[in-house]
Amino acid sequence: MVKYLGKRIFYIILTLFIVSTITFFLMKFMPGTPLTNQAKLTPGQIHQIYKQYGLDKPVWQQYLVYLAGVVHGNFGISFQFSNQAVSYLIGSRIGPSLIIGGQGMILGVLVGLVLGSLGAVKANTWIDTTSTIVSILLVSIPSFVLAVLLQYYLGLKLKWFPIADWGGFMYTVLPTLALAASPLAETARFMRTEMVDVLSSDYIELAKAKGLGKVGIIYHHALRNSLIPIITIIGPLTVNIMTGSMVVENIFSVPGIGEQFVKSVLTNDYPTIMGLTIVYCAMLCVVLLITDILYGLIDPRIRLSGNSN
């Protein structure tokens, strides 16, 4: 296990290195300057400011300076927020993103599991149909459309929740719902298919024959065996939540990193874009690592050893 973890962490670091390298050079190929009032500066003035930021050096030198910084957790100074270190910027904005992302993920997966299981257990009844319709609807409505609808009806018309802004649990409800839709739908669809499969397998028949109760069978045998594919999709679902948050945070004015990412791209704020890319990448790597460990916990047949694969 320790050996496996060591190996995985090494790969995570390698991934982060490759991602930061690619991002760095992509940024360098982006046209335009990071200066906010570029239109009013002459090339000479732009050069002068570049010099102060170290952007006049050859690209390979900038790359080395940048890498050395990243190793020390220093992503440089934001161009857009000219007094702020990118690490502080991310640190002060990551909280809201983690809260709505985490809540969205948990809510989505849990409700998805229940909905999917119900659909499978009550296969081909109105419950199943409802569950399928709900998941198809939620998977086909993009999160930004759902976000706008939620905001308009639950926020403006019914006044149940704040329309935008940040400041307590109530403010997280609508963004969480908007983000939860996609994991909910995906989980429900996978869960139903998997559960139907498992429920018709021989060992369930055996359990039934042994005289076990329906609830016991589902809880002890069916549910656990159906969870494997669900864990597999947690990785992609995390990516869904991350990309969804970029739009959802903007719509609900959540002061998070998703909203910041969009703004940074629009303003060519290279240091912030690179810092955020690395943070996103690291978060995804950690989620993938956790899911791999979860596999072993749920299905002991999957061994976490350095020799597997």
Binding site: P31, G32, N37, A39, N83, G155, W160, F169, M170
Partner: protein
């Protein structure tokens, strides 16, 4: 108070949410009697360090929390600020400001040394200020900024604590407007020294000498408050207690918040503006900003022909563009220099320099002129690419201009919409045929626009060039610089030449459409930065 009660209830079920939301709207209703305004802004504060400030939204806040020598006032005038009075020498090169005894919010006196310190810091190349260029006319500023001279050589000095003297390289009658801008505000040297590189990076690491102090800004968040500064020299004239800001980047979210009563002000853009034109709260604030089309006369020989340029200008129906296409708060242009920006002896510059053909539309005449011009350059057809940014507004603008220009027989237009910053780079490197550009004035003087079109200006993307125009602009800055009327007339002549020659095609003058609660009074809008001033606002 509302936030706290909500936070405590975290996790409570839906029913209580309904009750709570009821409470919330009640408290905001009773709150409307308080001297408090909720103000929407499209962008978070980028920095409060006035040496590094570049964006309008930060400048708005800084104009609330700090004050320079003079203060921007309505009708193209300036009010006394930290300076009680000022005088200029006969040659227009020396400006002497007599400062009042006023205080920073930490109790320190605001002295002439604070101005010297701040201005030197901005011009210092180590500060890497993106706005240092605006100091260019102060003696030695350009040399200092390019690292060729010591900072102490800047043409500013403190004579005692309360007399501040500025020496300019050449006379600049509009210098009085420039000193109202955040780049020219004083800085408290003690505060800057105390916080070093983190100076002004949040609301507590700063000193304020303006009508308000900044509260609740952690450096990256989207909400903050301007609270009345009791140490401000003119505090008794400030009635409003709090101006609460919320940065909302999605226009529809801002409108929903306004409609729910959470905001007293919100900006509107594009279709949202059009949909809300009948709202009783609808207002438009004209901006000193012109959107215009440039011709690349360097790359395309046919565009050097005045008749062709004039024909293309006349072919574009600006009224239709403003009313049917842009739909926001934009208005039809009167010329290159925006209307209601600069006045002399009570006369508006744009009205005085108005050339009908420069902004008119007349398709029949356009066709005749175009045929004439094409004959002169010996061409039967012309195929041009129209470059523009890829935001919604510019896309609609390029599509409309394309549809209008192709009405000229023999003219083919292809549109190219690319990201804003790429567009800027291409325009500055003459990689275009036609380009849609926009300019917003830094200070309310016509030269701010007219300088752009002089032959050697780096922002003259299309390289249109006219000797007489250059000569007039030069004269306005040299021999006529101290004679306000002569200088004004030079600039009027220059604008007339620009329009008669159609060096550019003004398409529309930008305006900010917004919703503002009728209970909010006294917010002063300006066509240039800082755009709004809340110092005299109140809630009725």
């Amino acid at each position: 108070m509302k936030l706290n009660s909500l936070a405590k209830l975290g996790g409570v079920a839906l029913l209580s949410a309904v009750v709570l939301a009821g409470c919330g709207s009640k408290s905001s209703q009773s709150g409307s009697k308080k001297q408090e305004i909720s103000w929407m802004t499209p962008s978070a504060i980028a920095t409060m360090d006035t040496s590094k400030m570049t964006d309008l939204y930060s400048a708005q806040v800084a104009n609330g929390t700090n004050e320079g020598l003079l203060r921007m006032a309505k009708n193209n005038k300036v009010d006394p600020g930290v300076a009680k009075s000022y005088s200029t020498s006969k040659d227009g090169l020396t400006w002497t400001f007599n400062l009042r005894h006023s205080k920073w919010n930490n109790g320190d006196p605001v002295t002439a040394k604070d101005f010297v310190f701040s201005w030197q810091r901005t011009v210092n190349p180590k500060t890497a200020s993106q706005y240092a260029y605006i100091f260019a006319n102060i003696k030695n500023a350009a040399k200092i900024n390019s690292g060729k001279m010591a900072v102490s050589k800047l043409g500013v000095k403190a004579e005692g604590n309360y007399k501040f003297v500025v020496t300019l390289d050449k006379p600049q009658s509009f210098f009085k407007f420039m000193v109202t801008q955040p780049e020219f505000f004083p800085q408290n040297p003690k505060t800057v020294a105390k916080y070093g590189s983190s100076f002004a990076s949040n609301s507590t690491k700063n000193s304020y000498n303006g009508p308000f102090v900044l509260k609740g800004w952690n450096g990256t968040n989207d909400t903050w408050t301007l609270t009345k500064n009791k140490d401000y020299w003119n505090a008794k004239s400030v009635k409003i207690q709090d101006v609460k800001f919320q940065a909302i980047k999605t226009p529809s979210t801002a409108l929903n918040s306004y409609n729910s009563g959470k905001l007293d002000f919100t900006t509107l853009s594009g279709t949202l503006a059009a949909n809300n034109k009948k709202n009783k709260d609808y207002v438009v604030f004209p901006e000193a900003s012109t959107s215009y089309m440039e011709f690349n006369t360097k790359k395309i020989p046919a565009l050097r022909n005045t008749d062709i340029r004039k024909a293309m200008a006349l072919a574009i129906d600006k009224k239709q563009m403003v009313n049917k296409v842009m739909q926001g708060g934009d208005i039809t242009p009167k010329g290159f220099v925006p209307a209601d920006m600069a006045k002399h002896n009570g006369k508006d510059f744009a009205a005085q320099a108005y050339v009908k053909s420069g902004t008119d539309s007349n398709l029949a005449e356009a066709k005749t002129l175009f045929a004439k011009g094409m004959k002169q350059v010996g061409k039967k057809s012309l195929s041009l690419t129209l470059l523009g940014a890829d935001d919604d507004d510019t896309k609609r603008a390029t599509e409309f201009v394309q549809s209008q220009l192709t009405k000229l027989p023999g003219l083919k237009i292809n549109n190219q919409n690319i990201p804003f910053k790429s567009k800027l780079s291409r325009a500055q490197n003459q990689q275009f045929d036609l380009v849609l550009s926009a300019w917003i004035a830094d200070y309310p003087d016509p030269s701010n626009f007219l300088d752009l079109m002089t032959s050697n200006n780096p922002q003259n993307d299309g390289k249109w060039s006219n000797k007489q125009y250059d000569a007039l602009m030069k004269k306005s800055e040299s021999t006529d610089a101290n004679n306000e009327t002569a200088r004004w007339n030079d600039m009027v002549q220059a604008e007339k030449i620009l329009m008669n020659q159609q060096g550019v095609v003004p398409l529309y003058q930008q305006g900010q459409a917004a919703l503002l609660k009728s209970s909010v009074k006294g917010v002063q809008p300006f066509p240039t930065s800082p755009q709004y001033d809340w110092a005299k606002s109140y809630v009725k």
